[in-house]
């Protein structure tokens, strides 16, 4: 986060926030709340509404573990690599205590038997790659910030994976697995037992441990292995006479195991994205929940066993009822390995569009910071198996009004065999989603490197241009319906262009759609889409063109290009000559469609700088050094809902639109101004207050009543706050009157109950009756004193 005047870079959309989400363990606090670590904070979700209720923010580094306090189920510990363990009241979102450990903590365990002791996994002080399990005695102190000093090592050389260590029955022992070794430490005997597996069994399956879980009521440890096997270990308090049984259903590594609280079922999951429920002692009976969407990384069970939750590798948490039915899905911005499609903004919904689930495009609302929906592009059953080549959406483009969406999917099995499909989707007003209109298989012979729609707003027909490595660019046009009556209009190839058998790289339409620029290595060719004539060629050797961009609005006569020999050129298309050029290593160039501004990202020494400028003047409007670490891979200007009225020169370019960009580490970032941020904070606070009221029958009754009252007394200033039950006038008066002037409780009871009833009388009359009651009560009281 870099300060710059009052403009700053902020993480948005939660790729950054959510991407670590999945490596954390989501835990249930009770049936109502779900806690999970996500980036630098812990999130509290409601299991019924899927809403995030609190962000517990205090850690200064990644949160690595969240755990309920065994002695008080309304409090939770969280640990982080910043070397602290924090105790939270998660229902109210309050930080209670901070224990400073001093070492980065990778996971945290505790048991009801060991009160006042936390077990944490920290790196051994000498070697960073080796980890040890340490018992930390929490000092009894009233202070907020406490430093823990009493450490005692329990196990050395443990795995840093939180799933590889677990407490056994009632906290009698702790089991930990690493590599091919299972270690069980009995607290009573103060002695560890170690069990080893051979590296490979006969069939070549890998025996490496991946995770383990201990049975809560029985002496049994379930371990998951790399080859998909689950072993149930028993009798492990003897060195020699231990036994294990093997269960095998998963075809690849088991990533998480979990017993239900009563120990009747064992849950397991892995890359297959199938949740398997094994009956304990009847392991042949299994239940499956298939097609959960992405690889399961962690499984958790609520303390009462009514709900399960699985976190997935695509930034998702699924909440499952114990009857193996999905009840809710909490989905962040779907995280992939890379954004292969460009970042786009859907002109209709103003949602950010990019790669989502495999074979899907996700529509992510930037205003609400919420995933709207996933559009299935490939329309094939996704096989969850590592090492399998699948269809991927590699390019996508919207036309000016959002009526058409073009997508390219490709699958590369062998270098020679490339399967390409170009699909065109029409927006259907009735279903409010995109419907497949045309599928063109093998539109080009080689990979498509760029694709764009003609963005002119007045032309009747839309043109799509795709540029491929096979040396051609093709123009696609919506052909009218063929004379057979069964089909509607479909897309077909209109023109195939090439230039001196050079390989084209990028293409761009001018703002009015009258010109098409296609770059062929060092040469930019300018074509007229009306007649498909080559109008002119521009070039600025040396160096092949990397980006190509037309100016917008008043600067539409300029064409900007960047070369891979560190040159940013601006051509004037009226004179067909170079207007200006400057030496910059621009990695990404894009134009704001709502203003004349252009943004250029320059990558220098592992950092990226941003320059915002107008093509008409080569002086930057705004520049920002070291926006983020690493390269910026994609960026987009998204329109604002409300225009900002900033008149400062440096922030003026943010008035019409907002710049979003993705770094190579898959962080989605944006620029905000200070004023905007303050407004956002205020609104989020209000949301929390109104959400925190639990929906009980009582609150429904009171809410209804108070709502009515609120309507009646619309002019009163308190109208906004009457949502709460205290808002009732009678109750308020009851509470505000000093105790010694109150009548007897039996007398007040009927009044109180009456105040809960939905009133049919008008306000004034009721006010008077209450007043009368008080007079009577006072007189009664006075007489008593006398």
């Amino acid at each position: 986060m870099v300060e710059h005047g009052d403009i700053r870079v902020v993480h948005r959309g939660g790729i950054a926030r959510y991407c670590r989400f999945l490596c954390e363990r989501g835990i249930f606090c009770c049936c109502r709340f779900l806690l999970c670590g996500s980036g630098y904070e812990v999130k509290v979700f409601s299991t019924s509404t899927e809403e995030c209720i609190h962000d517990l923010r205090a850690h200064t580094d990644l949160v690595t573990g969240v755990l309920l306090r065994p002695s008080n189920h309304l409090q939770a510990y969280s640990c982080s690599t910043d070397g602290t363990v924090r105790l939270w009241d998660y229902t109210d979102g309050i930080l209670i205590k901070t224990y400073v450990i001093g070492y980065p903590i990778y996971s945290i365990y505790t048991s009801a038997n060991h009160s006042g002791v936390l077990f944490v996994v920290t790196p051994t002080s000498d070697k960073r790659s080796e980890f040890q399990l340490v018992a930390v005695h929490l000092p009894q102190s009233g202070d907020q910030l406490v430093e823990a000093r009493e450490f005692s090592a329990v196990l050395s050389d443990v795995s840093s994976n939180p799933a590889a260590t677990s407490f056994g029955r009632g906290g009698e022992y702790i089991a930990s697995a690493k590599g091919l070794q299972l270690e069980v430490y009995f607290f009573k005997k103060q002695k560890p037992y170690r069990f080893f597996l051979k590296e490979d069994n006969k069939k070549g399956g890998k025996n490496t441990f991946t995770c383990l879980a201990c049975h809560p009521k029985d002496d049994c440890i379930a371990t998951g292995h790399e080859d998909g096997k689950i072993r149930l270990w028993r009798n492990f308090n003897h060195k020699k006479e231990y036994t294990y049984t093997t269960l095998h259903w998963h075809h690849s590594a088991v990533s998480s195991l979990c017993f239900t609280p009563e120990g009747t079922n064992l849950l397991s999951g892995g890359i297959e994205s199938v949740l398997v429920q094994w009956r304990y002692n009847q392991e042949s009976q299994r239940d499956f929940l298939p097609r959960l969407g992405a690889a399961i990384t962690h499984i958790a069970v609520s303390p009462d066993g009514a709900l399960f939750c699985t976190s997935h590798s695509d930034n998702k948490i699924t909440i499952i009822r114990s009857s193996i039915q999905v009840s809710a899905v909490i989905q962040g911005l779907v995280k992939g390995d890379s954004v292969r499609t460009d970042l786009m903004v859907d002109p209709r919904s103003k949602a950010l569009v990019l790669n989502g689930k495999p074979g899907h495009l996700q529509f992510y609302s930037l205003q609400r910071d919420k995933l709207l929906y996933n559009l299935d592009i490939v329309q094939q059953e996704y096989i969850h198996q590592s090492g399998l080549e699948q269809f991927e959406v590699v390019k996508a483009a919207f036309d000016a009004y959002g009526n058409w969406l073009a997508t390219v999917e490709e699958r590369k099995q062998k270098p020679t065999e490339l399967e390409l499909n170009l699909k065109l989707w029409a927006f259907d007003e009735q279903t409010q989603s995109f419907m497949l209109n045309t599928t063109i298989s093998a539109p080009h012979e080689a990979r498509i490197t760029a694709m764009c729609f003609c963005h002119s707003t007045d032309s009747q027909t839309t043109v799509l241009v795709s540029v491929s490595k096979d040396g051609h660019f093709k123009a696609w046009q919506l052909a009218p319906a063929t004379h057979t009556e069964d089909e509607g209009p479909s897309w077909s190839c209109d023109f195939v262009g090439a230039y001196h058998s050079l390989v084209p790289e990028c293409c761009c339409f001018s703002a009015d759609g009258s010109l098409l620029a296609v770059s062929f290595q060092e040469v930019v060719t300018v074509w007229s889409p009306a007649s498909w004539e080559l109008l002119t060629t521009l070039s600025q050797p040396p160096g092949a063109i990397r980006n190509l961009c037309f100016g917008q609005l008043t600067c539409s006569k300029y064409l900007l290009g960047t070369t891979d020999k560190n040159l940013l050129c601006c051509w004037n298309l009226l004179t067909c000559s170079l207007e200006w050029s400057t030496s910059m290593d621009v990695s990404l160039l894009l134009s704001d469609p709502f203003s004349e501004n252009m943004a250029a990202f320059c990558c220098q020494a592992g950092c990226t700088d941003l320059f915002v400028f107008k093509p008409s003047e080569p002086r930057p409007l705004f520049s920002h050094k070291a926006v983020c670490l690493g390269k910026v891979t994609r960026a987009v200007f998204a329109p604002r809902e409300k225009m900002l009225e900033s008149c400062e020169e440096t922030s003026q370019w943010l008035n019409h639109s907002q710049l979003y960009f993705v770094t190579q580490y898959m962080d989605l970032l944006t620029f905000t101004t200070k004023a905007e941020e303050d407004r956002l904070m205020a609104s989020s606070k209000q949301l929390v207050i109104s959400d925190s009221v639990a929906m009980t029958p009582f609150s429904v009754l009171l809410g209804k009543r108070s709502q009515q009252e609120g309507q009646e007394a619309a002019s009163s200033l308190l109208a906004e706050r009457t949502q709460l039950p205290q808002g009732s006038a009678a109750v308020r008066e009851l509470l505000q009157t000093p105790a010694h002037v109150l009548p007897s409780t039996s007398f007040l009871c009927s009044m109180f109950v009456e105040s809960l009833l939905i009133s049919v009388t008008d306000n004034r009359k009721k006010g008077r009756t209450i007043y009368n009651y008080f007079i009577v009560a006072q007189q009664h009281f006075m007489s008593k004193i006398e």
Binding site: L289, Q380, H500, T536, C576, S577
Partner: protein, 528 residues
């Protein structure tokens, strides 16, 4: 939890010509009946009255055929030399024909001997026709003249000597008793009026005119000559309307469909083309074995009769409605009405709470197997059962298995019967270019898997040999096609010699542009 997505069966574009209303209409004819005549069939004319017999002029005879007979009902053989242009009168009672010996003969259709002989032409008469008031005959001859004759007296009424070459075609107006049009080898069409002594309109076709046709409205006239078919507007004084060049040899005959919406032209290039008369596009095409000389359509397009140079008369009858229906295969029996509407006609009462029934998703058999990862069974069910007739379904399943990386497992472990079934499918569909990219790797895999057991089963061995044979043939085809492509490329390259010049000029301008930009760039660079 998302539901299972069934295998996507790609819809392949239909090969060949698009199915339109026209193709459906013009394809709805039975296989042709072929009748061998004595010589080239020069003219076919339908009787205007039921039962619509037609007169076929071939060599020295005129045969009259009934609508469904394959033997002539009647023949006129009293010609000294080749007969031409046997035409019926509008009442179907009389027939006129010209002859190489310059005599025009008039026959009663029930008699045998000529009723009248009109002598006066000096050379062969190729054109004869009745005028619309039925008592006159118009003829055109190789002596460059056309004449009008009176039937009762057998006398010549008028002679027009305006053409300067053979008159080979002509037609009289059906609405006006005095008008007739002739087409001649002097490249002109002339409209004559019997009330005046000369032609009224002359139209230049540009080629020797072979055939003339008047629209039923008689506002338009169509002429054929050389490779062109031209349409003229008589009401605008013979203004050319359209010129069609769709044949690559001389067009010999013209004909209109019964509703006047389609125009048919026959040519020496052995094709008959059907045009839409509103936009004059070719909507259908018939191929014949030999050059076509004459063409006629029965009333209501009941049959298409074509006469060819080799003396074969080809008759295509329209399929009767029952026959055409037979093509669309039989519909499956639906459940009875009572079962079908059971419970569906129940009207919910006011307080009823409607419980919506979950829509059950039906999966095909192979999808059910694919869902359970039973890959071999999935392939089996795609090869058998209802999808047997649709190779695209089987190919889609093979593709899906390939995508899952389990095709090899699905193909392996088959016995003789299952393997031969698989090989049968592959040999049947492998050369189809739509399926080849999927089936060739599959065939490769089969050969890899079953290499060790080749020679153990005669059935499989035979199929493998057949496959080898098939592949060799296909390779040869491809080779030939590439040869042809190479030849075409040289032809095209030689026909566009200017292309090279254009390229170099564009590159030169490119160089110029580069120079300019470079020169302008310098000061700007310093400025920035």
């Amino acid at each position: 939890m998302a539901s299972f997505k069934p295998t996507k069966i790609p819809i392949y574009p239909k090969l060949g010509e698009k199915v339109t209303q026209d193709t459906v209409y013009w394809k709805n004819y039975k296989a042709p009946v072929q009748i061998k005549e004595f010589g080239a069939v020069t003219n076919i004319h339908f009787s205007p009255v039921a039962p619509h017999n037609y007169a076929v002029t071939a060599f020295t005879r005129i045969h009259i055929y009934g609508p469904f007979s394959q033997e002539p009902v009647k023949s006129f053989t009293r010609f000294k030399d080749t007969a031409y242009c046997g035409r019926y009168r509008s009442d179907g009672q009389l027939l006129v024909a010209g002859c190489e010996d310059s005599v025009v003969r008039l026959f009663d259709v029930s008699g045998k001997v000529a009723l009248r002989m009109f002598k006066g032409h000096t050379k062969a008469v190729h054109v004869t026709d009745f005028t619309s008031e039925r008592y006159h005959i118009f003829t055109g001859s190789d002596d460059y003249t056309c004449r009008l004759w009176d039937i009762p007296n057998a006398t010549e009424l008028n002679t027009y000597q305006e053409h300067t070459d053979y008159i080979r075609c002509g037609v009289t107006s059906k609405l006006n008793r005095d008008l007739f049009i002739t087409g001649s080898y002097d490249h002109t069409l002339k409209l004559f009026d019997a009330r005046v002594d000369k032609s009224v309109i002359t139209m230049d076709h540009g080629q020797p005119v072979e055939s003339v046709l008047l629209y039923p409205s008689e506002g338009l006239v169509v002429s054929a000559g050389g490779r062109y078919v031209k349409v003229w507007d008589l009401l605008k004084g013979g203004q050319p309307l359209v010129s069609l060049k769709n044949h690559h040899k001389t067009v010999t005959s013209l004909c209109l469909s019964s509703n006047g919406q389609r125009l048919l032209s026959a040519s020496l290039d052995r094709h008959v083309k059907v045009y839409n008369t509103t936009n004059f596009r070719v909507v259908h095409n018939f191929d014949y074995a030999a050059s076509v000389l004459s063409l006629a359509l029965a009333p209501d397009d009941e049959s298409i009769i074509v006469g060819m140079t080799n003396g074969v008369l080809s008759i295509k009858h329209r399929k009767s409605p029952e026959e055409s229906k037979e093509v669309s295969h039989q519909q499956r029996r639906r459940p009875s009405y009572r079962v079908f509407v059971k419970g569906k006609n129940y009207m919910p009462k006011q307080d009823d709470y409607l419980v919506s029934k979950p829509v059950r998703e039906y999966l095909t058999k192979y999808d059910k197997h694919l869902k359970k990862f039973n890959i071999s069974k999935a392939l089996d069910s795609a090869l058998q059962g209802p999808s047997k007739r649709k190779p695209e379904v089987t190919v889609a399943v093979i593709k899906e298995l390939d995508r899952r990386g389990t095709l090899k497992n699905a193909l392996a472990g088959r016995d003789e019967k299952a393997l031969s079934e698989l090989l049968h499918f592959i040999t049947k569909n492998m050369v189809d270019f739509r399926f080849a990219p999927v089936l060739v790797p599959a065939a490769n895999m089969i050969l890899d898997i079953y290499r060790s057991v080749i020679g153990q089963s005669p059935v499989v061995d035979r199929q493998l040999l057949y496959l080898q044979d098939l592949l060799q043939k296909e390779i040869n085809y491809q080779q030939e096609l590439l040869d042809v492509l190479g030849m075409l490329d040289t032809l095209f390259a030689s026909s566009v010699p200017r292309k090279e010049l254009l390229c170099s000029s564009s590159s030169r301008t490119n160089g110029l542009a580069q120079g300019e930009t470079a020169s302008t760039a310098r000061p700007e660079l310093q400025a920035t």
